[in-house]
């Protein structure tokens, strides 16, 4: 039989190069994850008995949760304080938080020794464990975020508008619950390290770690909202809410200075200022963190010109995020010293230096790519960035909060 080579393929995948790259990265992560499930964590990572937590925890858990803090900030601002002008930023931030937390959960499924038992946290409670609090908070907040984001999906389908309305009617308790859970959970990530006073360097270990984590999470959230709005406005070629972002950027130096005062105040109070100059590499790391996360962005955002230009906003947000991510890596990895390997480690613990392997990083990158792809798809197909303003007069929901557009698709 002769093949007809001129026939057109019935189904053609027509993705942009970026999407192809993201899909490839996701595929690699999937393969690595399968190898990990089959042969264990050891073969794919450099984690060992001396370094039980590494890149996955520092990047996926600590960084992932931190960059999801924009959601509760905007929800609090718009719903609780009724600052309605920020409404255009609400949905993208809730979406980022929702996706961020899903990414954290997926990453934990790779990192946990028994991912099939993750639900044990719901029934077996050890009240002294900070990790339990984090587990419960992640699970509950993920549910709350799903409820907060559900109307956006439902609005897409005209027949489901009634359900969207119904959720809107009862959204307030969930918003309050969400903000409370976020507060607890952002701060308890800091509490997670309280149990390591003998391992974490004194420049970072302090009893007020939870307060520091919460304060810095606010800055991270503000920076993240600026970043995601800037990037998506560039990618989707839509307008940028510069006047709103300018207001957020104005709050950043204040938050950063409070955070800096806390940091140095605590060191002075506990008489640990000496470590600032005497701990060699650790002192250097600390100053690098302070420089990138506090000093540079505070100066940057204090300059009006930087706050009012799209490029200035984006650059400043990136600096804040880099500095804060360095902080999360420092407290959870770089500044953590495990027992002296020279004598203490038996032969099977011989791996005393930790450096993440390529497959290990590939898992995190793959999960992150999935998050970016999901954000892009949601931004493209769901009313995330638009459809809020035009119907404001026609359709107030009961409490006079965010209107649900009913006529958009009719």
């Amino acid at each position: 039989m002769k093949l007809n080579l001129t026939i057109q393929p019935r189904f053609r995948l027509n993705f942009s190069p970026l999407v192809w790259i993201l899909l490839t990265l996701m595929g690699i992560a999937f393969v690595v994850a399968m190898i990990r499930y089959a042969y264990g964590i050891g073969p794919v990572s450099d984690l060992s008995n001396s370094y039980p937590w590494g890149f996955w925890i520092s990047f996926d858990l600590f960084t992932g949760v931190a960059i999801s803090s924009g959601g509760f900030l905007m929800a609090g601002l718009v719903y609780i304080f009724r600052v309605k002008e920020f409404e255009p930023l609400l949905r993208p931030s809730v979406l980022t938080a929702f996706l961020g937390y899903i990414m954290v959960a997926v990453a934990l499924l790779v990192d946990l020794g028994h991912p099939d038992r993750i639900w044990y946290m719901m029934i077996h409670w050890n009240h002294t464990s900070v990790l339990l609090e984090i587990g419960i908070c992640v699970m509950s907040y993920l549910t709350v975020l799903a409820i907060e984001f559900a109307p956006v999906v439902l609005e897409r389908f005209p027949k489901l508008h009634k359900i969207a309305h119904f959720i809107h009617k009862f959204i307030m308790p969930f918003v309050i619950l969400g903000v409370a859970l976020s507060t607890l959970h952002q701060s308890s990530l800091g509490s997670l390290l309280l149990i390591q006073p003998a391992k974490l360097h004194p420049l970072w270990w302090t009893p007020i770690l939870p307060i520091m984590f919460f304060t810095s999470a606010i800055s991270i959230g503000l920076a993240m909202i600026i970043l995601e709005s800037s990037l998506s406005s560039r990618y989707f070629k839509r307008g940028l809410e510069t006047h709103l972002l300018e207001k957020l950027a104005r709050a950043l130096p204040v938050m950063l200075v409070i955070y800096g005062l806390l940091k140095f105040g605590e060191l002075a109070y506990s008489g640990e200022l000496g470590y600032l100059f005497t701990s060699g590499g650790m002192s250097l790391l600390f100053w690098a963190e302070i420089l990138i996360s506090i000093i540079v962005p505070t100066i940057w955002f204090s300059i009006k010109k930087n706050r009012q230009s799209a490029n200035g906003l984006l650059a400043g947000a990136i600096i804040v995020l880099l500095g804060m991510i360095l902080n999360r890596f420092n407290v959870s990895w770089f500044a953590v010293k495990h027992p002296d390997p020279l004598f203490y480690m038996p032969t099977f613990m011989s791996n005393v230096k930790y450096f993440p392997t390529l497959p290990e990083v590939a898992v995190s990158i793959g999960i992150f790519s999935a998050g970016i792809l999901a954000f892009g798809l949601a931004a493209k197909y769901l009313p995330v960035f638009e459809a809020e303003r035009e119907t404001e007069e026609t359709h107030h929901s009961v409490r006079g909060l965010k209107p649900v557009p009913t006529s958009a698709d009719d």
Partner: protein, 257 residues
Amino acid sequence: MTEIKHHAYLFDATRCIDCRACMVACSVENNIEMDKTRIWVAGLGITGQYPDLQRGTMVYHCMHCEHPDCMSACPVGAYTKAEDGPVTYNPDLCIGCRYCMNACPFGVPHFDYDKGIIEGAFIDKCTFCPQRIYEGQEPACVQTCPTDALEYGDRDELIKIAHERIAAHPDRYIDHVYGEKENGGTSYLILSHVPFSELGLPDLPETPVNEVSEKVMEMTIPFALGWGAVLTAVTAGVALHDNKKKAAANKKAETKK
């Protein structure tokens, strides 16, 4: 043997000859692969100048703390501290989060990094041989030790013996029983002729390392409830204020008409 109220070990570093029979005994007794032993021995080599040569050896296993940090950290409560000493681990509850490994200041719990989810990867650590001690026998490592470097008995009694030994040979020992007070007390007590830090033991305060973390956890629920109430009050306050403003604006608009 007298009745044991609180099971404990006493390790005397001056007596250890680095034979590692305890490691073999432990693996055989508990059916552990040899490369995943629950007990391990580290020789520090020979130190000092002739003729004052010294050699030190340290036997490490779980310290069976009085306030175990692994137990405090475990989210699902897989660890239990028996009233009479042993700290044990229940693999049926473990979710494999490895937080206990981070929490333990001695780096004791270790994990099956070479097992997939079908085989099941678990934490492993010394169990204090409950199958032996509750039958009136010594733990396997102690029974096998040829030089009595490892001893087993009641904690209070062992502390007394340790201090007596230091008093009898003040030139031979450092005047300190490691584990009597460290980390809130441990059930593995150590006597040494070289500084404890040289044996690789961390310098710990008398309060357990989980103290601050447990205090913060105690405050969590009251804080959560209080914070929730504050948020609700603020929400209601803002809403009330907003409605009043709106009503005032409406009234104004009406009167103008």
